[in-house]
């Protein structure tokens, strides 16, 4: 299972990568990962991940506990996370908060 999916699972937040067939009617997360291969001059021994998680809360039902659980999941993995200001999408009637973090994977 993908590392980000594990994080979300540990935080008990439903979510997935990027695409949703149907708008969930609960707090959920969508994430994307920018991957840069790296390593020595003749091989790729490393993958540098820059991950963005967008945490969505229903406008009528804010969910601060989801933030706490997500941050605890980050902290448990010693991930240095960054949280951006929450913004409102009035059309979707959702709050969105973006979390970003980076990690390096050895392949």
């Amino acid at each position: 299972m993908n590392f980000v999916d594990v994080l979300l699972q540990n935080a008990k937040i439903p979510g997935g990568e990027t695409y949703w067939n149907e708008q969930p009617r609960e707090t959920y997360a969508a994430w994307g990962d920018t991957i840069q291969a790296d390593g020595s001059d003749y091989h790729n021994e490393l993958l540098d991940h820059d991950v963005e998680i967008e945490l969505y809360e229903l406008m009528d039902k804010p969910d601060p506990e989801a933030h706490e659980r997500l941050q605890e999941a980050f902290n448990a993995e010693a991930m240095h996370w960054r949280k951006e200001p929450r913004v409102l999408d009035p059309q979707l009637r959702l709050f969105m908060t973006r979390y970003t973090f980076s990690y390096t994977e050895r392949v």
């Binding site: 390593g39 020595s40 001059d41 003749y42 091989h43 021994e45 490393l46 010693a78 980076s102 990690y103 390096t104």
Partner: protein, 219 residues
Amino acid sequence: MSELNRPVRDKTSVPIGSGRFYLVKCPSRTMPSFAELVALCESENLIGETTGGATFNYSCERHEEKDDHGTLSRNVLIDEAVSLKGGLFSWGLDAMADLISTGRVEEADNGRFKVLRIGGLDNDNEETYVIVFEHTDPKYAPLYIAIMGTNGAGLTVPFARNNTSKLEPEFQAEPHDKGGTLALIFEDRGTQTEATASTTGDQPADNGGAEPDSGTEAE
């Protein structure tokens, strides 16, 4: 005229790409032949995978004398140095020991621990190494830079959560023949065809920079 396989670089060539570092102890302080230097470039002698390529550096110091009117001058070379710097992406304790003259690797507790001891001036092993950097390019003949020397830059080994721990040795060249040669840079054009194979010119010159003296070895 020999028939050779690979084109050498000329003024239209655009060198690009990295290479690999190979290192062997050289107690005899004799620079191996060109063919032996090429043969050194095998996995057994690889220090580790390279990162950030290599930097060859030649520096010199000149002294200039002028008359009081600035009409006559003489400019002479009084010192020169060669170094070869590189980044090592992958390495172990044995590689570190080769880069630190007081480093020695041993095992303790019946092999449970592998230990690198560093320090103690009396432990200077006074080893000299042959260091070969092999730069390969699919378009041209492989290019080799060979020096005899040691790592003269010490070692700084960062350990960071978001970066690899690279070694960045800088090998300082020592003269390896009576002529004071500090470095060899050569291209391997490949093997000659049997019909044209020659027995000459296979050794680094040991003649102070004059015409190649076939069959001699550097001291």
